[in-house]
Symmetry: C2
Subunit: 507 residues, 2 copies
Amino acid sequence: MEEKREEFEEISPSDFFYRNRDLAGFTNPARSLYSAVREFVENSLDACELYEILPDIVIGLTEVETRSPSPNIYKLMVADNGPGVPQEVIPFAFGKVLYGSKFTLRQTRGMFGLGGTMAILYGQITTNKSAHVVSSTGTSKIYEFTLSIDILHNEPVVLKRRVANNDSGWHGTVIDIYLEGDYMKASSRIIEYLKQTAIVNPHADITFFDPYGRLFKFDRNVAGLASPPREVKPHPQGIDVEMFRRLVFFSEETNMLDFLVNNFQRVGRVVVNNFLKKAGIPPSKDPKTLNRHEIVTIVQKMRSFYGFRKPRADCLSSLGEDFIIAGIQREYNPEFVTVVMQPPSSYSGHPFIVEVAVAYGGNIPSRTGGLLYRFTNKIPLLYDEGSDVAWKVMRTLINWKNYKVNIEEDPIAVFVYLFSTKIPYKTVGKECVADRPEIEREMLSALRKACRRLRAYLSRKGKAERKRKKLEIFSKYLSQIARFSTSLAGKEREPDVTPLLRELEVG
Amino acid sequence: MEEKREEFEEISPSDFFYRNRDLAGFTNPARSLYSAVREFVENSLDACELYEILPDIVIGLTEVETRSPSPNIYKLMVADNGPGVPQEVIPFAFGKVLYGSKFTLRQTRGMFGLGGTMAILYGQITTNKSAHVVSSTGTSKIYEFTLSIDILHNEPVVLKRRVANNDSGWHGTVIDIYLEGDYMKASSRIIEYLKQTAIVNPHADITFFDPYGRLFKFDRNVAGLASPPREVKPHPQGIDVEMFRRLVFFSEETNMLDFLVNNFQRVGRVVVNNFLKKAGIPPSKDPKTLNRHEIVTIVQKMRSFYGFRKPRADCLSSLGEDFIIAGIQREYNPEFVTVVMQPPSSYSGHPFIVEVAVAYGGNIPSRTGGLLYRFTNKIPLLYDEGSDVAWKVMRTLINWKNYKVNIEEDPIAVFVYLFSTKIPYKTVGKECVADRPEIEREMLSALRKACRRLRAYLSRKGKAERKRKKLEIFSKYLSQIARFSTSLAGKEREPDVTPLLRELEVG
């Protein structure tokens, strides 16, 4: 048994994602092109939002080499007017995996500190060309880097660095990379992605020059900005042992009362005192002296203690009813639309909000199973619908018959919006959301509420329909009867049946 | 703009997966339980296979704490008679993310060097209990470790280590962890997983004690072993620039001819000479002197050069037609079943084989869209079917009507088996396979072939059905006519119509 060796080794995070790029949405050339566009656009939107800048984003995609057989080689350029990246950070932010600014509790589109770098990595391994980044934070200098990634060691390699004067005070970031792609297959998804992104981000101005020379322009249509996402402390419900231990490790408080009040959201001194009494922990206890067993007990009690207020949702920026309805009406002009906004909830210490809209009729096409649109933190999700919690809720947990809907034929569309400081994506490519029980519950509850309203509408419509038919028959026959009786009685003027009909209409 | 800071930081790989455990299949308590069982079982199967040991795997799952509301706490124990893990490696193999033995080109069930450690990490963060590993490689000692993971730094923490004498020469590994779970919801999937795993791994003996005290035993039903998976060199078609550069970096060859012959599979000196001539590279050139541009050119030419032989498939261990048919017949007893085995192909330098079976009738239930069973490297995939390339092929690329199948109603099941030194999973949890164009093409081609055979069968069946009906009618009327003519002629003995009917039957 000694000859065959099972050899063990360690690999770097960038090597891991290089070996497994399918994990990050870089599968076939079409989808990789889509993923690259997406990651850069979302980085731009996030950066602008944090600094309260109205985003101007320009995307240019040009084919630089046509190959047969495909894939072709493209140059992708994404420019924004965002806050810029500090020059000392640029090599790491773009050339090192698991390095980024997204590892906080804040509502952001990006989640993994990975996407932009993955796009650069993908470009590098498919073309061996370096990436090019120009950025300024609005200081007197503009920095320009040409860089690639040392994948084996997960380190950036700066090939060229130039500094220019920034006389106009410009701030923003322009990145360009070369990559393999298939725009013929990717174009409809990329355009759909930008369109839907523009709908849920009306404060953004997005311009796209495509490889066919077409220009797609999605203009800003609100002048103002939602308030920027705020970083928050964790909520006690749903915290885990690891997080609790980290908080203890980094804390400076010397007693449990202060420790809990300062490190968690939504807990005042009164609530904490109540909680500690229930948990049997003295308020004066030094958190650093907690043993393993005590930590497990506290975490467990925190989850089941009902005295905490709900997680704060003011750190979340949702869309709101009017906004959602306006968007759906512009697109589909449905005969019925309703929005349900669930109260904030939380999973594993992360607050989240679910909004669900159901629309019926109008320009909504009939599709077996109905149409589903998914949005997370104001980005549309277009791939892998079948693995999403929203799909599970809509397709397997709702009994549409209960709501007088024939889901195989009726023109119905469901829109599910999820907002959270942490979206539990199932893939690094952010294509679908996991069925965390808390999220599934809120989505199901929201969809049920929306469906009840739809049922009420369909009932009214059915009743009105039946009444209309009855009236139609009456109005036809009553006037004929009137005419017939008139001639039978040898009279000239028919009696007026309108008052009679009106009575039926009211009744 | 200076007050708000976008703070950049680096996190460790284990911290990344701790923060994003949904990525690795650890979403809700039910699925996490399923994922943990799966990861350990697959590690055991892989290790046994590499060392040509007939696997005996025992899984014990007990509920140690019932909580209300759920999830409960379980103890999971998985024991195997595998080769064991060398004691100096144990802490890293079980307590460090991105450390493992799976980073090679070899057909293994595990792919990421991540699963076992993720299960331990999940157990730790949900229960704060340490993991316990007992292992021996068959030497005179048995090693026992109690360990946990320092998630922030991605380092194992050994809490206890004991050494015992191994008088019996036992080899194998026993691991136990505590974790949150929901067996009530997970049980059907776990049992289905083990059942399907046993079907495609008939050389394994799998025993499962479940928390309800039930015993599931899947006995070995072949005595022999398939040959163990072999590590292979990359195939020149589909290699990328990064991999080529690494090979150059680690190579000792001083000329291109030797370099290519020694570092790639399926290339002899004649083929390499032809290739180098076409690519315009002198065979005597030192690979270390290749510049960026030359590397890109070579890689590109390698992909489009048709002189290479197909990737070697003898490193892959597929199931084979007889085996697949026997399994399907035992389970479904269909009226028709056919298997198509595609010739080996490759994507990005990785060889793969696709086998597809289509079964019709028998005990196969009618399901809208048909039933799909997916297997990769001899493990069943049960989740996220809708995001799998096999689903895409079966549900969107095949026009079932062309094959006389009403996919909404007919009792049809499709079985897709994929074998590769590298399965391009879309999720770290290994639930679904990406639609790499090469794989999609082979699956589609195989399914089409199988469907054509099904169509031929259904046509024959239809023809036979029509003939049978015709014959039925003839046999009914012919004998009546015979009887009638007999009595009309005043005779006693009716003529024998059988020869006439037989003639119709043959015609």
